[in-house]
Symmetry: C2
């Protein structure tokens, strides 16, 4: 099912590359072009069949009817004004940034057919080498349309994600950023912090628990600095909530209130087990 | 290599059952007997070849030359005085409790041949059903001898763990409890707390990051309440350190100090990656 004539993916990493590969495999566009700062990335993307053509020059996106910004958050914000001159007025523009409020408010001013999206997929591994066409299968993709969003553009973006295997959920950018601060951003922040405070010489005694709970601390530092900065208010709020909760648990420990402690841990365990 | 004539395992769960199974497989004792409150556990342990005989009565441990307490921490402390009358003076007594200071100080008063141990193995899964003979392979086992510890007993316990596949490390109970508060206890506390504060209705948006970082929150609540209470001082100290570190990171976020933020995240990432 051809949805587009020419799709341009800006940033051919794990996310952009997987989208490109999915579009090619499902034949959702006549042509897929990629933009990257690195020549090697483009060569590899072509070799993997994710793109038909690639360029380090932004003007390759000209005449596309869909442009997807798939770079880290801060680069999405930087690139948006710079690609304007190459984007046709009827071209649909989307992005896959992990925060939405800042991006949506800026990008919808630049592009009449902008639709913000955030596929809840991915991994701590990055780059075109880790690309998989099935990465979105059975995943959720959040779209954050506003009252200004073109309905046809929104509908086409929904169909694109459905074709890539994702279930689409709509919500405001504000709601997105609050939810993600709890289910993704804070867990990452805590993982970085938790491994950060372990004295180096104790690391050899790390067992599975520490390894699992800090696996996401091996995620890219620049990418996550961007996300934290772009969702500042929510992240600070969620962190404060965690700190209060830790203090509450510690107070039960300090008072040797085993009954309360078990109650709190049991509720957490039950919640965790409801996750799948 | 027969190290013992009769080994008695009190508490035939994941840990006790795996030790029993390892001893049987390696033929380290002529006989292995098990004590459990539940008849089913004993039947299953026998069926799995972990024990020769089992009983709900403690007197089955009589005449053992090695007794291992493999119950949750609070039960180890409760059982110790109650098993005294059945333990021969020359019998080696050990335990596999996750905290050591409280246990070692009490148990070495009761038993002249006591050696505290803590195998750094296991999982959030419990019980005899999850037992595996290779659970200790390539793991570390911490022994916490004191100046009072019998040298022969210490040597035999070391050989036991080596035979089960573990590398033995000696340290004081104090040092053990401090190290474990960082590499195991705090990560568990944080996992319970982190999942605890996520609003129920946001859980459907949980991706791999939250799932991984809170997997250990599905560990047993009673077991972990015991551990937290028994390592109170160290856990409270480690939690305070984490809260300070979270505040530091949040302050960098608040000041939009991207350079500092990236530095902190990079150091954490590097540390995490050294864990493999």
């Amino acid at each position: 099912m051809r949805l587009f004539n020419k799709v341009a993916i800006i940033g051919v990493g794990l996310m952009g590359g997987s989208i490109a590969l999915g579009i090619k495999k499902k034949k959702l566009s006549y042509e897929v072009v990629g933009v990257s700062r690195r020549k090697n990335t483009l060569l590899l993307a072509k070799e993997k069949g994710a793109i038909d053509r690639g360029s380090q020059q932004i003007n390759i996106i000209q005449d596309a009817d869909l442009v997807i910004l798939a770079t880290p958050v801060s680069l999405i914000l930087k690139l948006a004004p710079r690609i304007r001159e190459f984007v046709r007025p009827d071209c649909i523009v989307s992005d896959v940034g992990s925060t939405k409020k800042e991006i949506v408010s800026k990008l919808e001013k630049f592009f009449p057919n902008y639709v913000g999206s955030h596929p809840l997929a991915g991994s701590e591994k990055r780059g075109i080498v880790n690309v998989r066409p099935d990465i979105f299968k059975n995943s959720l993709c959040i779209l954050t349309p506003t009252k200004n969003t073109n309905r046809l553009a929104k509908e086409k973006i929904r169909r694109l994600w459905n074709q890539l295997g994702a279930k689409v959920v709509y919500m405001s950018a504000d709601m997105h950023d609050e939810i993600l601060s709890f289910v993704s951003h804070l867990p990452h922040l805590v993982a970085f912090s938790l491994i950060g405070i372990v004295p180096q010489k104790y690391l050899r005694f790390a067992s599975g628990g520490l390894k699992d709970s800090t696996r996401i601390a091996s995620s890219d530092a620049g990418l996550w600095a961007d996300i934290f900065l772009s969702n500042k208010r929510n992240i600070i709020k969620a962190t404060e909530l965690l700190k209060e909760n830790l203090s509450k648990i510690n107070s039960a420990i300090n008072k040797k209130d085993k009954k309360l402690l078990i109650k709190v841990l049991r509720e957490a365990k039950k919640k965790r087990e409801s996750l799948f």
